[in-house]
Amino acid sequence: MAPVMRDSVAPNHAEQGTAPLMEGICLCKRFGKVTALEGVDIAIRRGEVTGLVGDNGAGKSTLIKILTGVYRPDEGELRFEGQRVEFASPKDARRLGIETVYQDLALIENMSIARNFFLGAEPQRKVGILNLLDVRKMRLVTEEALKDIGIAVRSANDEVSVLSGGERQAIAIGRTMHFGGKLLILDEPTSALSVHETNKVLTYIDEVRKRGLAVIFITHNLYHVYPVADRIVVLEHGRKVGDFAKDEISVDELVQIVSYGAQRVARSARQQ
């Protein structure tokens, strides 16, 4: 690594707001002869929801796995808060505040909401020589944190199994916010939900954005991401084929790009 590379970009992004929280620059990833990602640039900003769309196999999950430290890119670099970073494991990414909520891995059904909320970061209190769970604090803090983003639960001691899919997503999102996450990555958060539940989850995402967190929303349903997104990045066969601010493009144009391929859409646009 050339040391000159380090924070060479930092001065340009000195002001808050314009400086991306996280950047991927010219990311490439190959698996044997298959190129999963080629030269993808992406910038994630605070207080913005970035929709990441594309068909199956477009490279969405490869890109996310690079951003969260599951894979290391073959080429290209990652920057977080202006600093060049390299992740040896997902733990490194989490330490910086990059949290992923997976659709079916978010919560453990047979445990209470509070036990889920604090899993892996349990508050403890000393009783004599013993370190015991602070059960009361777990319940109170969980209820408080959930109320804070507009999620009402009957009791944080209820099992997660009594909750709907949307409520489960909400609790996983609330957990990320509570533990100081800076970048929240949602992997298909709405794909298994009813219309009503989807709308609820979208309001929670909106709430997260208002708190100044950056959000990446991965989906192949454009109609879910368009209402909440500030930016939409389109991947196709491992390349970035579109990167639009929402006001630059309509949902119908986006649908065209994702379903018929960027080149064909561009060609037909030129012919008109």
Binding site: R115, G120, L133, D158
Partner: protein
């Protein structure tokens, strides 16, 4: 509201089963409800229950141990051999045999976790292997300690009151420690999470593999300790004892609200399960029924109590 909260507990099924067992035997023989009988029951429950506590802790983490019966017999025999044939200091021997029991548990865990095979298979193999070793040690003969060894008296020989043996005290202490660990510590939270959904637990930084290994070791230690308690109470150990123990321990656990697939369970439930089974054993003797009925009766209770638990669970969630 109160009643519903009470019914929501996992121990309800086993509590009902225990009451039914008591009512049935009392109506046949009213001496069944006496301190003397209760002492006999708790004494039998202590040995089975010590195994059941370890097994249910492991089951909640999503694994199984079928080798606890062989571990029980082998550990008890080793303790007897070290004391009688090798004239070891009994306390040293006790520590060494518990370490052996832990080693058997650790081996179960290491093989299961590194070969990525179901613990049902690993411990089925271990059950046969260690039974074979136990049989080989004395060529199939039981081994007895005739001398008065204070350690053995302390483990199970002494009576604290009436027919109550001291082994029951150790069992209650062990049960309390496991209960607190499971319900009131961060480690207990990890145990539930590891058994409930391992990948999700791992994603949140829970050391799932280490949790499972530790619980395998604890199940081994508890099985070995139960063997020592029985040696203390009876003064002898046979290499063919404890063959039904794995299934009895699992039965006590599931009657008490543990799931075979992990993630849910109760230490108190497993302990009450052990008391229920011990009550059946003692009760059948008291009413003069052939001991063969024990297994039949237990089989009936297992199915009925689990069915009741599931039914109650449904009722509770409907009324939420």
């Amino acid at each position: 509201m109160r009643i519903k909260a009470l019914l929501g507990h996992r121990e309800v099924g086993v509590a009902v089963a225990l009451v039914v067992v008591y009512v049935v035997f009392m109506s046949m023989k009213k001496e069944f409800l006496s301190a003397g009988t209760l002492g006999d029951i708790v004494t039998v429950a202590a040995e089975l229950g010590t195994v059941a506590v370890g097994v249910s802790f492991l089951m909640i983490a999503g694994e199984m141990d079928l080798s606890v019966g062989s571990n029980f017999a082998l550990t008890g025999m080793l303790l007897a051999m070290f004391i009688t044939r090798f004239s070891w200091n009994p306390h040293l021997a006790f520590v060494v045999v518990l370490a052996c029991a832990a080693g058997i548990g650790a081996l179960n865990g290491l093989v299961t976790l590194s070969a990525r095979i179901p613990s049902f298979i690993t411990t089925l193999g271990a059950m046969m292997f260690w039974r074979g070793v136990a049989l080989y040690l004395t060529q199939g003969w039981p081994i007895s300690v005739f001398a008065d060894v204070p350690l053995l008296r302390w483990l199970g020989g002494a009576k604290v009151y009436h027919t109550f043996h001291i082994s029951a005290v150790w069992w209650l202490i062990i049960g309390a420690v496991f209960w607190v660990t499971l319900q009131k510590t961060a480690y207990g939270n990890w145990v539930f999470a590891t058994g409930g959904k391992r990948a999700a637990a791992r994603a949140l930084g829970v050391p799932d593999t280490r949790v499972k290994l530790v619980n395998f070791i604890l199940a081994g230690v508890m099985a070995g300790l139960a063997g020592c308690l029985q040696l203390g109470r009876m003064g002898s150990m046979s290499p063919v004892w404890g063959q039904d123990l794995p299934l009895e321990a699992i039965a006590a656990a599931v009657v008490g609200g543990n799931s075979l697939t992990g993630g849910v369970g109760s230490i108190l439930g497993a302990m009450l399960g052990a008391v229920t089974m011990a009550s059946i054993r003692i009760g059948l003797v008291m009413v003069g029924a052939p001991a063969y009925w024990y297994m039949a009766f237990v089989g009936f209770i297992v199915v009925a109590a689990v069915a009741l638990n599931v039914r109650l669970g449904e009722v509770i969630s409907w009324h939420r």
